[in-house]
């Protein structure tokens, strides 16, 4: 692909920004993780299973609460929408029936938003849930892509690229079935474009999974030194 036009940040169209993560960074939360795609980064903490407020109590499963705080100020409707996406994506992943009448509270702080923030949040939440030892059906990981006006699909778009896109698609895949667990699209697009994006994201998620696997392995090595 030598003749492919490079993007503004010198990436190819199907290249992710560098991924980084820190596990158990908060010492008072039951589980925490920070995750970043390039300059987009979030910090996530998980508390639970813990005591639940009586009005939120569910008799047969745990209540999952998601709170997202933006970089500056208090959350608006944008954050409420992201909370909904995350809660719905994880509702079938967390095995809530194992901890009835408890609450699992997920708090996300966006530390920098340079595009593809929903994917960054989903990945951070996954890592924090794993760190907290919450029973999960699968490991959920996400990647975003954007379709440009000329039909070119850009993986892991920055804010600038999302602004110029005709549509953006957020996909989350589980590591068990390779099926789409969550999908969120904005803009106008054709069916063909949608499935093309899904295929590209599926491929990219496998490299995120590889990264997560090595991050967990590293943490376990640290724990089991003696």
């Amino acid at each position: 692909m030598a003749n492919e036009v490079l993007r503004e940040d010198k990436r190819t169209n199907s290249q992710l920004r560098p991924i980084s993560s820190v596990l158990s960074s908060l010492n008072r939360a039951d589980g925490s993780a920070s995750f970043s795609f390039g300059n987009s980064s979030v910090l996530c903490s998980v508390y639970g299973p813990q005591e639940v407020k009586i009005k939120d109590e569910l008799l047969d499963r745990a209540t999952v609460e998601v709170n997202i705080t933006p970089q500056i100020g208090i959350g608006s409707t944008t954050e409420k929408n992201m909370e909904r996406i995350v809660r719905e994506a994880f509702s079938d992943v967390i095995i809530t029936s194992l901890h009835p009448r408890t609450s699992i509270s997920i708090t996300v702080q966006i530390t920098q938003d340079e595009g593809s923030i929903i994917s960054t949040i989903i990945n951070a939440v996954s890592l924090a849930l794993i760190d907290a030892g919450i029973p999960l059906r699968s490991t959920l990981l996400s990647v975003t892509c954007a379709v440009q006006e000329d039909g070119v699909i850009l993986l892991d778009p920055s804010n600038e690229e999302i602004k110029n896109a005709t549509s953006t698609h957020v996909f989350a895949f589980s590591n068990t079935s390779n099926d789409i667990i969550s999908s969120e699209s904005t803009g106008t697009f054709s069916e063909e474009e949608y499935f093309k994006c899904a295929d590209i994201c599926k491929l990219a998620v496998s490299s995120v999974l590889k990264f997560v696997h090595s991050a967990i392995e590293h943490k376990l090595q640290k724990e089991q030194k003696n």
Partner: protein, 241 residues
């Protein structure tokens, strides 16, 4: 007898399936433990950790976490948060507080009940652990009916740490407690719920002990020895001042 494959512990993520059949002999019965889920004729992981086994028959995922989930017959340290005629309500760090019957003590009768104040610490055994019910505790051994070390923990100091660290402290040859024992005498009670109770003759030793235990989580045996040596030396220097 069929050929079985050699198993090497490896890192596993939630959702990954494991086929244990190739490691077992025909007659063996497989038991799955913490972190593994049997669903739709498949065994899959629901936690991240190291997949380990005992004799290719008992399988579990070894991982550390901070939040305690009660499990039958585990020894825990709890704090009394309320009391009524018949039972004490005890905080053991789980989602729901546990119940401890006033009759679940050695020699306790309806007339002779133990007198525990709110805020007192108890070392107890989980006698009922069910996800749909509140956990229950007992301060008597399941087999003998004797106290066997259970009961109120008087004096001393309580520290909190991860469940993985608590499990490693329960190992009789754990490097941290052995290294500390070479320098001074102390008493400990270790709960599986991430709580460690310490008691020494001297407060400065209690501080040293709690710092050393908290620091030891990510250190190797050699590093622990070195750290304890430095802490003891520092505390002796402080004494002289």
């Amino acid at each position: 007898m069929s050929e079985t494959e050699e198993f090497k512990p490896y890192t596993i993520l939630p959702g990954e399936t494991v086929s244990l059949d190739k490691y077992k002999n025909e007659k063996d019965v497989i038991k799955i433990g913490p972190g593994l889920l049997h669903e739709k004729h498949q065994i899959s992981a629901m936690k991240a950790g190291t997949l380990k086994n005992y004799n290719n028959q008992k399988w579990w995922i070894d991982s550390s976490q901070r939040r305690y989930v009660p499990s039958l017959n585990e020894h825990v340290i709890g704090k009394i948060i309320a009391k009524t005629q018949d039972y004490f309500r005890v905080d053991i760090g789980s989602a729901h507080s546990a119940l401890l019957s006033t009759l679940a003590f050695e020699g306790a009768t309806k007339r002779n009940k133990p007198n525990l104040e709110i805020g007192a610490l108890v070392y107890a055994r989980v006698s009922l652990a069910n996800k749909d019910m509140e956990p229950e505790l007992e301060c008597i051994s399941a087999t003998t009916g004797k106290a066997n070390g259970f009961g109120e923990l008087k004096n001393g100091f309580l520290i909190k740490c991860s469940l993985g660290l608590c499990r490693s402290l329960l190992n009789p040859n754990t490097p941290i407690l052995t290294a500390l024992g070479e320098h001074f005498a102390f008493e400990t009670a270790i709960g599986m719920n991430g709580r460690v109770w310490l008691n020494t003759a001297d407060i400065s030793n209690t501080i040293l002990l709690s710092n050393a235990i908290k620091n030891s989580e990510f250190l190797s045996a050699k590093e622990i020895k070195q750290m304890v040596k430095e802490l003891v030396k520092q505390s002796e220097d402080d004494m002289e001042l």
